[in-house]
Amino acid sequence: MTAVVRRRALNLRRHGWSIGVWLLLAVLIGWYVLLIPRFGSFQIASIIKNSLPLVYLAIGQAVIVITGGIDLGAGAMLVLANSASATLMQDQPFLVTILIGFGIILGAAALNGFVGWIINVSRVPDIVVTLATSFIYSGLALMILPGPGGGTSAGFRILFTGSDDGTGTSFGFSLGMLLVPVVIAAFFMRRSRTGLSLYATGSDLNAAYLSGVDIRRAKVIGYAFGGAMAGLAGLATVAITGSGDPRFSIGANATLNSVAAIVLGGVALTGGIGSVVGAVAAAIIVFFLSPILSAMGIDPNTAQVVQGSLIVVVMMIAGLLALRRRRAK
């Protein structure tokens, strides 16, 4: 009996941050419902589908950071996948767009896995290599699609947004597309041996190596998974906007948001700590702040200030908590 209580206490401490982030999200949603005059399926659909790209990107970033890396090229990969898919999918029937979608996810995984391999071989720090790939990916995106344009099939848009023009009130498809990757990623990271080997690599390289983990393989898998998620984020973007946009600043912003989201979600930048589920909640929060603040009548610029300040304040509190815990030990 006491063992069960003890275990619950331990779990609460370990997942406390994650639970806190989900509670914060729930509070924000409740607040939003009170703020706006009409809250219906249109709003729900809009929030879910528009948060998809950042959620995917945050899942990928979380996996890479948990493995002990960081991907500053994630946003650029989103842009590359978005540009490539918008170019290839234009005027294609639904089935072909689906095949192209899978192809792009696989291609993104292979490309980013190759980046992981380069980090292994070159011993150049992750942050430097992915800084360079952020340039390369955005350059490739511009080569494929020199300016905003392209398109996709109606069916492909319905798949992510529930409607063929990206507006609509049905949110079943969006919710599915939110939940399926989250569940797969969470299950992969926590239950599979490969996922655990990623945690092990980020947590303690030496112990992981002695436990028989192939740490180079873990890095490649982590980056490949992150690449696949960034590719998916690019597909979601083409489905939501109905077109591609190769601008560098979109990728840079997306990368910054993904890093902010995972840190807010309790993933430690030192690796090995945190969960995909926490990162997902934080990603929705990071996205969700702007509609809330605009519902409060705050202009988007002030909203950005509030968002940045919130991240700083939360991290300061986390820093103080960590300091106190160390002192008390």
Binding site: L10, N11, Y199, S203, L210, G212, V213, G272, R327
Partner: protein, 488 residues
Amino acid sequence: MTDALLETKAVAKSYGSVVALRSVDLTVQPGEIHALLGANGAGKSTLVKILSGVIAPDSGTISVNGRSVTMRRPPEALKAGLATVYQDPALVPDLTIAQNLTLTAIDEDAVRSRLTAMGLGRLDFDAQIRDLPLEVLRLLDLARALAHDPQLLLLDEITAALPSDQAEHVFGIMQEWKEKGRSVLFITHRLAEVLSLCDQATILRDGRTVAQVEPRQSGERGLVTPMLGEVAAELEAATSRVISQEAPINLATADLYSGGKVNGISFELRAGEILGIAALEGQGQDRLFELLSGDRRPDRGEVIVNGSPLRARSPYDAIRRGVVLVPSDRVLALLPKRSVRENLAIPLYNRVQRWLGLVGDEDTRTNKAIERLSIDTRAHRQVRRLSGGNQQKVVIGRWLANGFRTLLCFDPTRGIDIHTKRQIYDLLKEVADTGASVLVYTSELPEIPLLCDRVLVIYNGRIVHEQDAANATEEVLLSAAHGLEESA
């Protein structure tokens, strides 16, 4: 003739210009408990790394059951039938026990039944490794190694932090393995364990196999002499020093308490005195040094420096009052990528007033420290390329260059060759002769009479024994350190 279970021939390994193993021959027969002995730096840990597949030897052969094997990764050693339990358990800190077992593809039930036999049946498998004490982790690591059902079990210093009842469990498992006709390679510093448990002992010195003996025949002397070689003679008795009772008290503590680890420690340390502290691992000595060096504030009680209390917010405040620390781990104290001079000079700049510009006599100060310690600075632009002994000299030299009144040394000779050890003893004595105080914790009890004037034994956060160091025998100190006050 039956094949040996494990046989290594002329195994050698160098790291750059540093030779770790010159030529190691080791033969372990089936059904024996085999001890691997050697002083610090003799090459035991390198050999363990080679036998567990962490690193590959430069030359030499390893064969298991008569067949030559190459092991380039840890799983290959396991496949060859060798399972290692490391001094620092190979468990991933941020995962739970269950997840660690999944990671290594080991059946939870097998581990559970092993743990039950060791008295740890109630261990929660959902607990995170980070939250568990070291002794539990060692036993867990052992249970995991046993689940591989290895031909040869390598135990690296497994008993170092274990309470005696749990050590008994380990001994039981070693016996069991022997009776199964399998073998154990046992690495320990405790000669008593070797004498009572082991059938054979291989002794390394300076990266070479120097002897293989049967401990029960040879006795303790037969083990120690080859371990130390001719330098054993160099360890002469201490020259006794006289401490004046009128000398000022440089450092004292009054009833210190901290987090259940230090439970009411009071002592006085006079100018010119070298005070030794002896304790088993984990008796609160780490915490005591943190309190004294200003790294942490006590819950209750006071640290008194030169007669007035030290209320330190960071080590800076203690350093300003002349209390300086040489920490346990050189990795903590060194700037590995910087030069010897920069390492020596760093405390000179801990004051904001000195940030613009360099201290005028920096060169004189660092040169003096380098000379006094005879630090080898040739062609070494980064201190990480120095030998362990030279690194330790840099850490001590830093305070010689900066100046101090009380030197706190936490295990200053760990992993250092005997020649440098002597130099460090002489240096600490010189320092004390000039009127400074020295407080030394050492994990090697024979050092106490060689180095110290007086010794305190700490057990469970309290001082349980105090005496003149010159007459402190290892037996007396050990029994006190185990909490058995036998003189009473």
